[in-house]
Structures are given as structure tokens and as C-alpha cells.
Symmetry: C2
DNA sequence: CCAGTTATTGACTGATCGGTTCCAAATTCG
DNA sequence: CGAATTTGGAACCGATCAGTCAATAACTGG
């Protein structure tokens, strides 16, 4: 998974995968069928680990706004520590936009993130932590979009002040 | 340029380029040196045409907020009409984050967009069209980040309601 | 019209691509 | 213990990769 994450689908050869997984060529094709299928599995694993962790954090959060801020700033730190890999979902969406299976998987996960955000924001609204006149679903869609931009800028311009400021302005949209 | 734009660097073969440009293999290498150099030139051309057009639009705009809204909604329309190509800057940033030359070119262009936004927002603030207590530079960095997210979602989830709503919420952050 | 220069060509190269095959070693089961 | 089956692996496949080059074509000034 980490190879596809860091290098993308096309730039990762089967030789890289054989070396990285510590198995031989034949076993790889026995186990996964093809490079495409292995990529699909890696993407699914990424969604189950990383996206699911974000969603669970949002579901559990008592104070929603600090939780969202913490989640976004943690991603900023990740990109600052190593800007190359970025987010596999973003990489998949951009590199493989012509492959419907990949796009659908990415879209589904984005939808789950949006729903988790919408749920958390609804709870926050009930508690009076965010503006009462904003639709949680609309705010959630905005934040989902902003999140992807943050990951792109984390690769293109890994600058702490820039990224952290963007997060603060985005959170300001919740008022 | 359109081939790299639509397919990315790795997925575009020199054969594709030969066919697309209508020249032969030898001429391509005589004229551009290598696939890498041709990609760099295509990226530069993209910046000069597309990013420069956005920047000029912002520089000329009388009413800044409607101009930004129009620019963002036009990009939404572009992605809805054909979600595959997306934005070459975003594609380059994600696919080629390990190639410093590409990252630097993308970063420079993002900086120009940020500056154009900051200039326009400063004019808007003087005119009282946006909140007086917000720093134009900070808003510009936020909008630059949001813009990249919009292009990613345009590929991953080409849904008009989702994208247009995201734009409206983002513009709300200017108040 | 021609000698000299530049541009263009497409066949060719070694390397590497994703994927297969077949054999040997290990494991299972009667 | 031994026949049958599964597992693991290196050699190999045609195709395609990015890049080169000697030969030819086109153009130049004289």
C-alpha cells in the first residue's frame, strides 16, 4: 500500500511491489490477480484505516469544532513531516480519474467523510457550538472539499503558516 | 499538453506524444530533449494560459466577490462537462510530488494566484465589499487551498449541487 | 544549378513493463 | 509412509518503454 501511496499506480512497477512485499512475482499474481486488483485492495485498506479513523474521531467527538481543528492540523503536520505521499484518496482521484472503479471507491469514501462531518456538525449545532442558521450538510460538503485542497497544498506548498492559517479561516466559515 | 493534462506524466507514452503532436519520434527529441522536458514545458504553458487568465480576471475585477464566485463556478462547469482532466496543476502536484522542479513550478503558480486573490480582496476591503477585520492575505491563502479542493472534488464527485454549495459556503468565509 | 547546411525521418536499441509457465519444495491426507 | 495436492519461485514471454542514430530530404547562400 505504501508504495502506491507514495509513488502512484503508474510509477510503481511490479518489481517494486515484489521487492516491497517480500514475495516473488508468481505469488503476487496468485494472491492478487493483477496490479490493478492489488491497487484496488490497497486503496480499500487505506480507506478502512485512515478515513475510518477520521470518521470515528468525528463520531466520538464531544467538542466538535476543536475535534475538526485537531484533525485538520494533524494532517498538516503529516504533510509537513513528509510532503511526498500526501493522501492516497487525493492521489487516486487525480491520477486515476479515468478509471471508474477507483473514482467510485474514492467518491464513496468522500461521502462517508461528509456524512460523519454532517453528523458531528448537527450535534454541534444542537449544542449551540456553531451558527444555528447554517445547514450541517452544506458545511460538511464545504469542509470535505476544503480538506482535499489542504492535502494538495500540503504537497505543493508544505508551509506551516500557510496551511494552519487556511485551516483557521475555513473553521471560521462555521460561524 | 492536453495528453499530459488528461493522462498524467507516467500514463502518457512517447508514442502517444508522437501521435498527438503529429511529428515523428526523432523530431520530438530534437525539439524537446526528453519526455521530462516536454512535460515541464507543457506545465509552463498551462500556467501561462490558464492560471494567468484567472489572475488577470482577478486583477481587472471591479466587483471582487462576484468575480471570484464566477471564476469558481466556471471551473465547476468545466469539471462537470468532463471530469477526467481536472486541473494540470493539481495533477502535477499530486503525481509528481517527488520531483522538485515540478513542485517548484506548481508552488510558484499557486503563490501568484494567492497574490492576485490577496490584491483583489484588499481592493474589496477598501470598498467595504468584504469584512474589514479579515486579512486579505489570509483569506487569499484559504481560497487558494479551497480552490485545489474544488478541483479534486470535481474529479472525484462531479456533482453540481455539492460543488456549487461548497463554493457558496467558502465565499461566506469572506464575511 | 549546386555545394553545404539544417531538419526530418523511421528503423533500431537495450531495458523494463505486466503477466505466465512450469518445476520443485512443502504440505496434506489416506 | 507415500500419493496427491497446494504453495512458492525463477526463468521466461511478447509488448512496450524512453531514447538514439545513420540516412535522407529540404532548404540555404553563392
Amino acid at each position: 500500500m505504501k508504495l502506491f501511496w507514495r509513488q502512484g499506480f503508474e510509477a510503481t512497477s511490479t518489481e517494486d511491489l515484489v521487492e516491497g512485499l517480500g514475495i516473488t512475482r508468481g505469488s503476487l499474481y496468485k494472491a492478487f490477480g493483477s496490479k490493478e486488483q492489488l491497487y484496488a485492495m490497497a486503496l480499500r485498506r487505506y480507506c478502512q484505516h485512515h478515513a475510518a479513523a477520521l470518521i470515528e474521531m468525528l463520531d466520538r467527538a464531544e467538542q466538535v469544532r476543536p475535534a475538526i481543528r485537531a484533525a485538520l492540523l494533524e494532517l498538516v503536520e503529516t504533510d509537513l513531516a513528509d510532503p511526498v505521499p500526501g493522501c492516497l484518496l487525493v492521489n487516486a482521484a487525480t491520477e486515476r480519474s479515468a478509471h471508474p472503479d477507483t473514482v467510485q471507491q474514492v467518491s464513496r469514501t468522500m461521502g462517508q467523510i461528509e456524512s460523519a462531518l454532517a453528523g458531528a456538525l448537527e450535534r454541534a449545532r444542537v449544542r449551540g457550538d456553531i451558527a444555528a442558521d447554517k445547514e450541517p450538510r452544506e458545511l460538511a460538503q464545504f469542509l470535505t472539499t476544503f480538506l482535499q485542497g489542504l492535502r494538495v497544498m500540503g504537497k505543493a506548498r508544505a508551509d506551516r503558516a500557510f496551511l494552519e492559517n487556511s485551516v483557521e479561516v475555513a473553521l471560521g466559515a462555521l460561524d
